[in-house]
Assembly symmetry: C2
Homo-oligomer: 313 residues x 2
């Protein structure tokens, strides 16, 4: 345990929804001494037992309204679809000066769902840590989940500087890098980098699940030739992703429309045997890959034993 | 150099097209003493110099017809679109008993393009190593590329057992695992596991390249939230992939049609706010991921420093 040299940022932090993100936050808050007291809120009795057993919180409850009383920081860490109702429930019980933040993958909808319920004497700092694995639940969390990851803050114009700086300090203590932008801009960037890729991955795996059984077993056997990467993305939490698509609907539908137009162009080129069109498209796409490699964002894929690789035919 | 204990499989092997796959084969043939002589055929003077400099072949030429004279094994390792013309050129110069094999990602079209040109006194053993990286060219090859990877053979009904066994032995010496199936079945399996995923990945990166510049730079910055995986796949060799889509056209178009229907269903559910439909789809797709994990085909993704992860929102 390494205590925070400046003393704790908060006296009482309440984490509502202790899944992968919430439990990883709890581990960091504890380890770096960022709060004097941590309260975990979970609707599942199994999860509450797990939270206590793993020492993720000092106490647990299924009652968010009770939990937030006297808290100076409340972190919404459930799927975003639950935020609106949660905000309504906790609002009357929030103490003056309390900082409310969240970890939702969409920001426009979160602000629309949460902000109207909050009293003027609390401060809302919407946040989105771009970190995760395909695992979920309170046992999935780990200390380094946010290390060298981006956290995007989308503070409201009326939010004072101090609560924003405290949430920033919280994430920096977790090892994260901070960026700030307008909520709508966040939603457009993430729709392209995350929401559309996840939708496409879910869809292609959906297409495969409907194949005849004999073909399906061979698809699994030879999955490493490209398909595997999609299944990893499509292994993510269904509740979280249902809420993401419904919450960022307009932006996702706009991008999806563009994608479908591009796909129809590819389809037509294949049908017509237009190799020049395909070659040009496949060459242009290399530039973005190179930009990502140059930006040191490329990652590295280590196949496990018995694996085949990805870029094979 | 560890010599093959049974002595070389072949006296003279000709590798036509010394790219990633061809050069990796050359390294293995040399290292395991699988042939007495290796001849490399490349149209590029730079590549021929590179091949000699790296000791990948005993001699190089740009003339495939000359090269194959006296060879008892010819390996076609160019992009599949070049196979037909190559087969026509080399056919009159092939020695009796010569074994012709290839490494193409499609097998129906390869058989249709190559077999009609070949004289009765040679043996054609179509093969497809499911291995690769996003790199290409003679300097990209390495010894372990095929280790624990699948190689699918699609021998013709009339091909005698011995040449099939020799090609099998060649690949086993490279560390590969062998499967055999009908060419059309191969093309259906690979269309799902490899060709459709690559087409989708190329398309989504294509969609991103058309974004406004300010948005594009942030897409690169935050690419690790899902998009990055697609760019890796879409970084593959454009010539190879152009040929794959044109060569496996009918099967790819059929699967693409199914994918588009599934995508329209997702789109409609998002538009209508049908969370139950999305949740059900996103849950079903988890089963295939689990099957892949169970089959030890899942791989492991190691983010490099400064990276964010994949399954994040």
């Amino acid at each position: 345990m390494s205590a925070n040299p400046q003393g704790p940022l908060f006296t009482k932090v309440v984490i509502i929804g202790v899944g992968l993100i919430g439990s990883s936050l709890a581990i960091n808050i504890r380890k770096h001494g960022l709060a004097t007291e941590i309260v975990g809120v979970s609707r599942s009795a199994d999860n509450r037992a797990e939270i206590l057993q793993r020492g993720l919180a000092d106490s647990v409850t299924d009652n968010a309204a009770e939990a937030v009383q006297g808290a100076d920081c409340v972190l919404l860490c459930t799927a975003v679809g639950a935020y609106g109702k949660l905000a309504e429930q906790i609002a009357p019980h929030l103490s003056p000066g309390c900082v409310i933040s969240d970890v939702g993958s969409t920001k426009g909808s979160v602000i629309a769902d949460v902000a109207p319920h909050l009293p003027d004497h609390v401060h809302f700092v919407p946040a989105h840590p771009i970190a995760g694995t395909e695992q979920s639940g309170p046992s999935a969390g780990f200390e380094t989940l946010f290390k060298d990851r981006w956290v995007i803050l989308t503070p409201l114009p009326q939010t004072p500087r101090e609560p924003v700086e405290k949430i920033e300090a919280l994430w920096r203590a977790c090892g994260a890098m901070i960026d700030k932008m307008d909520a709508l801009h966040h939603d457009r960037v993430l729709a392209m980098t995350s929401h559309l890729p996840h939708l496409i991955a879910y869809t292609i795996v959906d297409t495969a699940t409907q194949l005849e059984d004999d073909l399906k077993s061979e698809v699994i056997k030879f999955s490493a030739s490209g398909f595997r990467d999609f299944t990893r993305i499509a292994g993510s939490d269904p509740t979280m992703w249902r809420d993401v698509f419904l919450s960022n609907r307009d932006v996702v539908l706009d991008l999806l429309q563009r994608f479908q137009e591009d796909l129809v162009n590819m389809q037509r080129a294949i049908r017509k045997g237009d190799g020049a069109f395909l070659f040009e498209r496949f060459t242009e796409t290399r530039d973005i890959r190179q930009s990502i490699v140059d930006a040191r964002q490329a990652g590295q894929f280590i196949p496990t034993e018995g694996n085949t690789d990805d870029a094979s035919g």
